[in-house]
Symmetry: C2
């Protein structure tokens, strides 16, 4: 497929390519992708964030970039910049109306993902973070296929503590193994909730089968740590802000 070479050319100056996966929806993939990108940029690293969740693009809102348009030229598609160090691309920037459903089957989704990888002018980056939808289907196979020659450094996998989430995450880890994608590690999100009034901590999403840490040991993948369930994280997502700004010294900003 000549596209593989095109992708390799286009990403030649991107030092690291990292996928953020889960298998389960709503566990915090976009949140981790967004906050990771803010974090890298705050440390003056040049980072790109690519959103391949075609039907449910949350990245524009989470990066505070609503209402932006993608500029297309002979060079290619310009990403949208949050600041000098953070460039973003998502189908969310290409919708005439934000409430319009994106009713596409696999082939059409694959076509756009290919263009994201061959046409976007990312330039020189320390890292390209790729946020994905839940599951192990068209989007995931396309990303892995088109980046075969450009090479993905690995995947960060996000889960919540309960078994209903872990069972999808085990499938995702096995997907990584099937396509020879290294698992950089697993982040457990929404681990415990600390009541702001009385300080009582409750594991609302209970680790009924040992949580992410036990799963990581069983599957022999690195455990990267946990992030508490905290209303400020959800607020940061809705407002499109870096967590560090909302609560610089809080446990959540430190985790991320």
């Amino acid at each position: 497929d000549p596209a593989l070479a095109d992708v390799q050319d286009r990403l030649a100056k991107v030092k690291r390519k990292i996928l953020v996966l889960s298998g389960k929806g709503g566990v915090g993939k976009s949140t981790v992708s967004a906050q990771l990108s803010f974090g890298f940029s705050a440390r003056s690293m040049d980072v790109g964030l690519l959103d391949v969740d075609i039907c449910g693009p949350s990245v524009p809102r989470m990066l505070g970039l609503l209402g932006q348009d993608v500029h297309q030229s002979s060079e290619g598609w310009s990403p949208i910049y949050v600041d000098d160090h953070l460039a973003v691309m998502s189908i969310g920037f290409m919708l005439p109306n934000q409430d319009d459903a994106i009713i596409w089957r696999g082939p059409r989704k694959n076509g756009l993902i290919k263009q994201f990888l061959t046409d976007v002018t990312w330039g020189e980056l320390d890292a390209l973070i790729i946020d994905t939808p839940p599951g192990t289907s068209d989007e995931h196979l396309s990303i892995v296929t088109y980046l075969q020659d450009a090479k993905i450094d690995g995947a960060i996998i996000v889960t919540t503590p309960q078994e209903v989430s872990l069972m999808d995450v085990r499938k995702e880890i096995n997907f990584c193994r099937r396509v020879s994608l290294p698992v950089l590690g697993v982040v457990e999100n929404m681990s415990g909730y600390c009541c702001p009034l009385c300080g009582h901590t409750e594991r609302i999403f209970s680790p009924s089968t040992g949580g992410a840490q036990a799963m990581c040991q069983q599957m022999d993948v690195p455990y990267l740590g946990s992030v508490p369930l905290d209303g400020r994280v959800a607020a940061a997502g809705d407002q499109g802000m870096p967590l560090a700004q909302l609560q610089p010294d809080g446990p959540v900003a430190k985790c991320i």
Copy 2:
């Protein structure tokens, strides 16, 4: 497509067909589907639950049916029974190993969904509830297409209160409009958390743009009510139990 007539025949004795949709992952579609099914069955209604989340089938675990196999005969595929009134079908019953990733592109997923609708021997039902994955893609288009003649009564849409979820849900409501699928109403899940120690209620997933109720008014769809964020719901999911058993008189069991 001759399959439409086959589906119509097969579902001739099913009084109501209800989709449970969202657009956003992890908001509680499977939880609402499972608990709704338990609720109907407890009232001696004959109900079927079909899981078309091919990559992330949570229904077998949430219904307490792990390790069951689908019996195939000349009649068709027998669903798995929880009790006399509740029949269930999911790809989760067809996996040699629960941890295996289901790495299928659209056409293969569509093929299985078609078989679920033409081959499963549901018999006489008061209601067939269909749990779906997030998004508006292959699975959704297939379900709506194959049930064109059999007719879907409508969709229940599940959301959480924050804008990041509502923006996907608005897309899903517009999807329903595009395919002429009536919206029966919207359930807001994980609405508020009540600390078990001091009773303080906190909206962890804050309704930064008014929550589901405001969205329902704007989009002119019925608001069905809210369910609190409660550890017992997550526990019921992991253990495969009806909420009413865990806490018969609690706010959550009443909501559902």
